[in-house]
């Protein structure tokens, strides 16, 4: 903690990770009070304890783990495919103006159609099975990764390339030793956006067309009027998304030790 903590509130002395819990806890308290005092009917806003016990039930029956596992697997598959393609396209457009001229307009138009807008078309194309989910998630990850990679490579200072030329770097050496390392920060911004978008798209596609997964749990809870289950699913979706983002942030920090060291 900084030295200037003299006038700070008492909880400011918590570690930074601890401060992050302040708002969720306050919200939970408000929620409990509201449920206790009956501000909203329990059919609409069940008490935290009921959501907790619904989650517990899902956990002990193994449903929670299996649904989360299925969702995670879909997101990993879709994100891997989409971000790999996005990286390749972003690098290709970043390195070559010709490629940019050929591909960028179509790409931009493609990116303008929201991920959800692709679902009806893709359903006709591949049905509503696993390929649909993976394709939708891949598309969601692909766009931000490609865009940020492209912009990141274009932003590499030309003076770095000149140093490479001085030491007779080949194109491959230049890419590997100079361009990609210099573009790591924006590329990672793209990957983090991509993963967040992928997770959002997953839940959306599971809402629309799935018989398993966290999104399905959510829509199923609503249809059955098991609002405790529905809210439990929302909480798990939020927590998993948060965890995925933290994992990316940790990877990013590791790759950029030179900034902090």
């Amino acid at each position: 903690m900084r030295a200037a903590a003299a006038a700070a509130p008492p909880w400011a002395s918590l570690p930074r990770g601890g401060i992050a819990f302040l708002f969720p806890l306050a919200l939970l308290a408000l929620w409990s009070v509201s449920a206790r005092l009956g501000w909203l009917p329990p059919q609409i806003l069940p008490a935290p304890s009921e959501v907790g016990s619904a989650l517990w039930d899902l956990a002990v029956t193994g449903e929670l783990a299996s649904n989360t596992g299925i969702s995670l697997l879909r997101v990993v598959e879709g994100f891997a495919a989409g971000s790999a393609l996005g990286l390749l396209l972003g690098i290709a457009m970043g390195l070559s103006r010709t490629t940019e001229d050929y591909v960028k307009p179509l790409f931009t138009a493609f990116a303008q159609v929201p991920t959800l807008g692709w679902i009806p078309f893709l359903m006709l194309l591949v049905g509503i099975g696993e390929p649909l989910k993976v394709l939708v998630i891949a598309k969601a990850a692909f766009v931000p990764v490609a865009l940020n990679t492209f912009a990141g490579i274009r932003a590499v200072p030309p003076i770095y390339a000149e140093v490479g030329a001085l030491f007779r770097f080949s194109r491959w050496q230049l890419l590997q030793k100079v361009v990609l390392p210099a573009a790591v920060p924006p590329i990672f911004t793209g990957l983090r956006y991509g993963l967040t978008h992928a997770w959002n798209a997953l839940v959306a596609v599971e809402l629309l067309a799935s018989a398993e997964g966290l999104g399905y749990l959510l829509v199923w809870g609503r249809q059955m009027f098991w609002l405790d289950t529905m809210m439990g699913a929302m909480i798990v979706i939020g927590i998993v998304g948060f965890a995925l983002d933290r994992i990316m942030a940790a990877a990013e920090q590791r790759l950029q030790r030179w900034r902090l060291a």
Partner: protein
């Protein structure tokens, strides 16, 4: 690599295209640097001295005339010609040792030989304790020393230095000048340093060449006979300094009348201006 380090610049002219029109930036420059010589070029900004270094380094190959190092024509960058820029241009994601090692990427040495060369050159600049530090942990002077080590690590025949100390404070600059001189004395590498600082040019150079601007050309050349170690305050250095300064001021004087309210100017200077500025 035969590293004699004899540099010849013969009748080199260079034009830039600025907004569709031609601008002559170097006008038949002739220069020859003997093996092991320390030559400094001093000139006002815009006299093309940095452009000349870039041509010699091979970063820009679009010029007329010939440049050769030890008889080999310059057509592209080469490891036998090192260049230190005004700013260190270290890669921030690499440590000091990794930055220096990058210079050896295409040197064709064994891993062990590379490692030894890197450590030797970091020791040469006195930064062995910082070999694992990242550039942002270094002061400006330290970073520029690393850049010098990177420029030297290939054992080039000639080291080109483009205002390497221009961005440093006076004290650091003086210390790095001494350090560069020490390195040159130890390694006997041909050095070609470009600067706008007359004191620096005279203190470091065996020979000082004065360049005139618009178009860039060589105006005068002075030998600095004094042996090392030199005393910055000595009378003979002061004498050379004032001669160089006079020559330099003469090159600038021809340029100074660019304000519209200046007194009527000599015809030659007026014509100079029309070609330089009129087309921009």
């Amino acid at each position: 690599m035969a590293r004699q380090g004899e540099l010849r610049v013969e009748d080199v002219s260079k034009r830039f295209r600025v907004n569709g029109s031609d601008l002559l930036v170097l006008d038949s420059v002739d220069l020859s640097v003997a093996p092991g010589e320390f030559l400094t070029i001093v000139g006002a900004s815009g006299c093309g001295k940095s452009t000349l270094l870039r041509l010699i380094a091979g970063l820009d190959t679009d010029f007329r005339g010939g440049i050769a190092l030890d008889g080999k024509r310059v057509t592209e960058p080469g490891l036998e010609r090192g260049l230190v820029f005004q700013e260190p241009r270290l890669f921030p994601w690499l440590t000091v040792a990794q930055n220096v090692a990058l210079g050896l990427l295409n040197a064709g040495l064994s891993k062990a030989a590379k490692r030894r060369a890197v450590l030797d050159h970091i020791a040469l600049i006195g930064l062995s304790a910082f070999q694992d530090a990242y550039p942002h942990q270094l002061s400006g002077g330290m970073a520029q020393r690393v850049a010098i080590a990177r420029g030297l690590v290939n054992r080039p025949g000639v080291l080109l230095l483009d205002e390497p100390f221009g961005a440093l404070d006076a004290l650091t600059r003086a210390r790095l000048q001494d350090e560069l001189q020490r390195i040159w004395a130890a390694e006997r590498i041909t050095m070609l340093l470009v600067t706008h600082d007359v004191e620096e040019a005279v203190y470091l150079g065996d020979r000082v060449v004065v360049m005139a601007p618009r178009p860039g050309r060589i105006a005068a050349s002075f030998d600095v006979a004094q042996s090392w170690p030199r005393d910055r305050t000595s009378a003979s250095l002061a004498g050379v300094r004032s001669s160089v300064m006079t020559a330099l001021e003469a090159t600038i004087a021809a340029q100074v009348f660019d304000t519209p309210r200046a007194a009527p100017r000599p015809m030659a200077a007026a014509r100079d201006f029309a070609t330089a500025d009129g087309r921009v």
